[in-house]
Amino acid sequence: MKKAKLTKKQRKMRKLQKQAFKGQKLMYRSKFARSLTNGRSNRSLSGSLTLLICLFLLSLVMLFPVIFMVSNAFKPINELFIFPPKLFVIQPTLDNFFDLGELLADSLVPFTRYLFNTLFIVIVGAVGHIVLCSMAAFPLSKFRFPGSKLMSNLVVMSLMFSTAVTAVPNYVIMSYMGLVDTVWSVILPALSMSLGLFLMKNFMEQVPTALIDAASIDGATYFTMLWRIIMPAVKPAWVTLFIVAFQTMWGATGANFIYTENIKPMAAMLNQLSGSGVARTGVVAATSLVMFIVPVVLFIISQSNVLETMATSGIKE
């Protein structure tokens, strides 16, 4: 009844008071609350907390198989077959890695040979990929000339289908060119991965054109412009291209192309090891950890560069 007696003006005042009070409360949030809500008054503390907790739980779920894999690699044989299986290792040992080492030392083709093959594929492939992509990305990103639009569109379009689609004719083409059973069958297709060109091109677009104009007044050729001015400015992009190419080729077994044992990459050999059944469970665990950890470590080292490149990765219409 009391409320009804208030005039319109009073009601308005009350509302304003309430709002002001709320605003004050938000202003005097604790440091913790402010950092959680990013200092913004239109966010609730409880909401931030809930989301954080969800994030934490989800990251545990995501991490779970990885933890299992890592601890498996350090489990002694009796723990690998314990019932019920444990998530964490109780007595960590390096036995599995020693076993892996022994197996590798015994193999017909020395392990170093496989390692060399993989390094050769990865380094030649990634460096070639970076060189080709930056050479192609420079004209496409900075100049308009007949055909430039078409080529850019083709590259974006080729992002839209996976390489599995072209696998069959690729084999036929390789065999006509006599590349089957050479390491080039793994390297050459990776050289022209379209994701690399796409990322490089987008990143180069944000290099100021003024730099290029200045250089062209000085009479620089396009090649010198690219190597002297553009390439140093797009370091994050070529680090990213290296990582992407590395990830693709590191796990490549070349299963459909390479038959001769001493030119097979490491991944193929490790696959063969893990195909040998229950007795090798420990070795398999060690192997998968090795295969997993190398690209992850590389990504951790380069992640700030990768993210910088990805900031320009959008598809513009």
Partner: protein
């Protein structure tokens, strides 16, 4: 750049103009040549060759024999396994695609407000599954069909089941697990693109929105964040559509090849079956061509949809 008609004493046609430009930029074509050579050889030509072979009967040894649309007719009328693989692929794509996409966006969105160190750590955790080629093999041990499998042993000791479940061989569960594993791996390049894109959104816009009465984080997401992110959203969509239609290695590693009663047989599994094992290249190419057009169509459709975000 455009040559104005009126000012030019001698009128030149568009073609002549292009030739002029091409001559001016001759050096640029030389720079493009190496990449384009490989791109043509390993991407454009294979697509065209695929289309050509799809109308032939070809087994690599004998020259291809032209048979018209017979491969396509056989695919749709005489190959129930192909139809099943189409069904499986679309089912996987419909679930993994949108779910993985939204999941990676939400994760990126939550991550982007955390302090730098924590953000980096979580980024690595989320991205790790898709970095290394075959980390998913670990799921064969988690979901192993005997009592020693991690999940089975836990369920048994809790008394929820009395017999171990054949997770990877029983048709009832196979699809579910493939979906689970694929979603686990779905935070890939698109996810990184989202994280990077979110950090690039101008802070001043959020502050302006706060003053202008954006009430909560969801409104902020819809009115400020998403419209700023459309290029990244498009890129992420392309990646996620392409990946979700190309599930193949996971099913082979988890369910074997062929999977029980073809329960998780995908189009690419079918393609590899004919292309690599049976060497019916013509038939395999017709599958590839269909998949190619399927991927392009779905990608284009999704792009149309995304352009309407935040408007």
């Amino acid at each position: 750049m455009k040559v104005a008609k009126a000012k030019n004493p001698r009128y030149i046609t568009k073609f002549q103009y292009n030739v002029m430009l091409a001559k001016k930029y001759k050096q640029l074509y030389w720079m493009l040549l190496p990449y384009m050579l490989f791109f043509t050889m390993f991407t454009i030509v294979p697509v065209l060759v695929s289309i050509f072979f799809s109308f032939t009967q070809f087994n690599v040894l004998q020259p291809p024999k032209f048979i018209g649309f017979e491969n396509y007719i056989r695919l749709f009328l005489d190959d129930p396994i192909f139809l099943k693989s189409v069904k499986n692929t679309l089912l996987l794509a419909v679930i993994i695609g949108p779910f993985g996409y939204i999941f990676s966006f939400l994760m990126a969105w939550l991550l982007c407000e955390l302090p730098v160190k924590l953000r980096t750590l979580l980024t690595v955790i989320f991205y790790a599954p898709s970095i290394s080629g075959n980390a998913y093999v670990i799921f064969t041990q988690l979901f192993s069909g005997d009592a020693y499998g991690f999940i089975n042993s836990r369920l048994l000791s809790m008394g929820l089941i009395t017999n171990p479940i054949l997770w990877l061989r029983d048709e009832k569960y196979m699809m579910l697990i493939v979906i689970l594993v694929s979603v686990w791996m779905s935070l890939g390049v698109g996810f990184l693109s989202f994280i990077a894109g979110l950090q690039g959104v101008d802070r001043a816009q959020y502050e302006a929105a706060e003053v202008d009465g954006v009430k909560n984080r969801w409104q902020e997401l819809w009115y400020i964040t998403l419209p700023n992110m459309i290029p990244q959203l498009l890129f992420g969509a392309v990646m996620s559509v392409t990946n979700s239609l190309a599930v193949a290695d996971v099913t082979v590693a988890l369910n074997g090849f062929p999977s029980t009663n073809y329960a998780t047989h995908t189009i690419i599994n079918h393609l590899n079956d004919y292309g690599i094992i049976r060497l019916e290249m013509g038939y395999a190419c017709s599958i590839a061509v269909l998949l190619f057009f399927l991927m392009l169509t779905i990608n284009k459709a999704v792009q149309r949809m995304l352009e309407k975000v935040g408007t």
